[in-house]
Amino acid sequence: MSSAELTPSEAARWAAHAGLPLPADRHAAVAATADHIHSVVAVLRELDFGETPPAPAYRAEQENHDAAV
C-alpha cells in the first residue's frame, strides 16, 4: 500500500466528513474502490491547465445570444 492509499478507517472518516456514516462492514470495500477511482483520475494532475476554464453543462451565454437574434 502506498502512503496515498486510504485505510478502511480513513475511508470511514472521510465518508463521515461528507455526511455519510458507513457501517463498519463497508469500510474496507469503500476504501478499495475509492483508491481505485483515485488511481484512475489522478493522471489528470499531469496536465498543465494554464487558464483553461472548466466545461460546464450550462450554455447560458449562447442561449441569450440566440434569443437576441
Binding site: 475509492a34 483520475v41 466545461a55
Partner: protein, 463 residues
C-alpha cells in the same frame, strides 16, 4: 414476414398506405412479447392494455385522415429511466419501488404527440450505472450479456418486441448494447435532445437517443426528439432539421478519418476485421480515407470517471443515506466511494474536458467524420468479469465496453453505431461514426449508404 419483423420505416410506409393497421402491428408485437419475453427479460413492464387502446385510436385517426407522421401507430419501448405520466420510472431499482411519474418526460411527450405507441418500459442496468444489464439476456444468445445500460431497449428492438426504443447514453449506454445486439444506436450531440423528465446518471454526460433496426429508422425518431426545451439547461436552440437520409450511396469527396491510435488498440481481431471491411466499403462508395491521431487518449478514462463518479453520487445523495441497502452491490459501492472524491478532481476533469473538446474540434476540421469499432469485443458470457487481450493485458468487461464510446460523451460529439457483421460465434459486431457537433445528418447519410449496400438484416432469434 410478420408485422413485428418490420423496421420502423417499412411499417410506417405500410401504415400510411393503409396496407397495415396499427392494431395489427400492435397485436403482432404483443404476441411476439408473449413468445420471447420470458427468455429475454427486456421489459420491466408491458402496457398491453394501453398499447391496444392506443392502437385502436391511431387506427381511427388514420381512417379519418388524421396522419401525424411516420411514427403514428408505431409500437415503442422506453428505457425505464424515462418518465411517462402515471407510470413508475423504476430505473430497474428497488429504490424506486413506490415511484410514480407525475408528468411525461420531454421525449415521451414528443413521441406521444408524433403518434408513437408505448409497449412498455425496458430494463436498464440499475440507474444506468453499469454496462451489462444483468436482468436481461442478449437477443442472440441468452447465455451472454445484453450490454448496457440500455440493455432492455436494445434487446427489445433486436428481438422484435419493439419496433423502436429509446435509450440513454452517459459513457456508451445506447451504443454498447446496440452493438452487442446487432441494432442501430444513435447518441446525438450533447443538448440536441432534451432530458427533462429523464433520470440522470451524470448531468454533464447524459444523452437520450434512439435505438432502431436501421439507420433510416434512427433518422425518423431523431426528427421527433430533437429541439429546444428550456427545462433542460443543456438544451440547444438549434433549428429543426429533416434528418432522413437521401437514397443515394455516392460518398465521393467525403473525408473519413481512420484512427491510427486508441480505437484499434486492444480490439478483438474479428471485430477489427469486420470494421476494416466496412471502412473499405465506404471507400468503395467514394469516401477518401484520412489517417487521424486521436488526441489526449491518456486522459479519456480519467476525465470520464472524474465527471461521472461525483455527479452520480450527488444525484443519489439523499437515498444513499436513507435506503442504501436497496441498491445493488455494484452500484452502491460506486456511489459510496464517490463521496470521497475531492472537488479538485472533479474540476480537473471539467478542465480536461475543455482541452479535449478543443483538440477534437481541431481534429474534426481535417475530416468530415471518424470511423471506429463501437466496442472492442462482442457480447461476453453472462458473469464474465474480465477480458484478456492477446498481449496478456486483463481488462474489466465494463471498462472495455465503455473505452471506445466515452470520448463522444466527454466531447459531446454525435456517434452512430450500426452493425457491420458477426463473429464466428454469431455475435453481432458494431461500428461507430463520430461526427462534428450537430453533424447527425452526415452520420445518418453515411450509415444509410452503407446499409443499402448490405443485405437486409434479420431479427435476433435466440429466444
Amino acid at each position: 414476414m410478420q408485422p413485428y419483423e418490420l423496421p420502423l420505416t417499412a411499417a410506417a410506409d405500410a401504415i400510411r398506405a393503409r396496407q397495415l393497421s396499427p392494431v395489427e402491428l400492435a397485436d403482432s408485437v404483443l404476441e411476439r412479447i408473449e413468445q420471447v419475453e420470458p427468455h429475454l427479460q427486456a421489459y420491466v413492464t408491458v402496457t398491453a392494455e394501453h398499447t391496444r387502446r392506443a392502437a385502436r385510436e391511431a387506427e381511427n385517426d388514420l381512417a379519418a385522415g388524421r396522419h401525424r407522421g411516420p411514427l403514428h401507430g408505431i409500437p415503442m419501448g422506453l428505457k425505464d429511466l424515462i418518465d411517462v405520466a402515471g407510470a413508475a420510472t423504476s430505473a430497474s431499482s428497488r429504490v424506486r419501488a413506490d415511484h410514480r411519474a407525475q408528468a411525461d418526460s420531454a421525449v415521451a411527450a414528443r413521441l406521444s404527440a408524433a403518434g408513437a405507441i408505448l409497449v412498455g418500459k425496458t430494463h436498464t442496468h440499475e440507474f444506468a450505472y453499469g454496462l451489462t444489464t444483468p436482468q436481461t439476456s442478449n437477443a442472440w444468445d441468452t447465455g451472454r450479456v445484453a450490454g448496457g445500460s440500455s440493455g432492455g431497449s436494445s434487446v427489445a428492438v433486436a428481438a422484435g418486441t419493439a419496433t423502436f426504443a429509446l435509450g440513454t447514453d452517459t459513457g456508451g449506454s445506447i451504443r454498447v448494447p446496440a452493438a452487442l445486439n446487432g441494432v442501430v444506436g444513435l447518441k446525438p450531440t450533447y443538448g440536441l435532445v432534451p432530458r427533462h423528465g429523464v433520470t440522470s446518471l451524470s448531468w454533464s454526460l447524459d444523452h437520450v437517443g434512439p435505438i432502431t433496426r436501421t439507420v433510416e429508422d434512427a433518422a425518423l425518431v431523431l426528427a421527433a426528439l430533437a429541439g429546444h426545451d428550456p427545462r433542460d439547461p443543456a438544451s440547444l436552440t438549434t433549428p429543426a432539421v429533416d434528418y432522413r437520409p437521401g437514397a443515394g450511396t455516392d460518398l465521393t469527396g467525403l473525408r473519413v478519418g481512420v484512427p491510427r491510435n486508441y480505437y484499434f488498440d486492444h480490439v478483438d481481431a474479428e471485430v477489427e476485421a469486420a470494421v476494416r471491411r466496412a471502412i473499405t466499403r465506404l471507400r468503395a462508395l467514394g469516401a477518401r480515407l484520412v489517417e487521424v491521431e486521436i488526441p489526449m487518449t491518456r486522459y479519456i478514462q480519467a476525465t470520464q470517471w472524474g465527471l461521472m463518479v461525483p455527479e452520480a453520487t450527488a444525484y443519489h445523495e439523499s437515498t444513499l443515506r436513507t435506503a442504501p441497502e436497496l441498491y445493488q452491490d455494484d452500484v452502491r459501492i460506486l456511489l459510496e466511494a464517490g463521496e470521497l472524491m475531492p472537488a479538485g478532481d472533479y474540476l480537473r476533469a471539467q478542465r480536461a474536458r475543455t482541452l479535449m473538446r478543443q483538440e477534437w474540434a481541431r481534429m474534426l476540421q481535417a475530416v468530415d467524420l471518424i470511423v471506429a469499432p463501437t466496442v472492442p469485443a462482442t457480447a461476453v458470457k453472462a458473469g464474465q468479469e474480465t477480458i484478456t487481450w492477446a498481449d496478456g493485458t486483463v481488462e474489466d468487461v465494463s471498462d472495455a465496453y465503455v473505452r471506445l464510446s466515452s470520448p463522444a460523451n466527454i466531447t459531446g460529439v454525435p456517434s452512430l453505431s450500426f452493425p457491420v457483421g458477426h463473429d464466428a460465434a454469431g455475435m453481432p459486431i458494431g461500428m461507430q461514426l463520430l461526427g462534428r457537433p450537430l453533424g447527425e445528418s452526415a452520420l445518418l447519410r453515411v450509415g444509410h449508404a452503407y446499409e443499402q449496400t448490405q443485405p437486409a438484416r434479420e431479427l435476433a432469434r435466440a429466444a
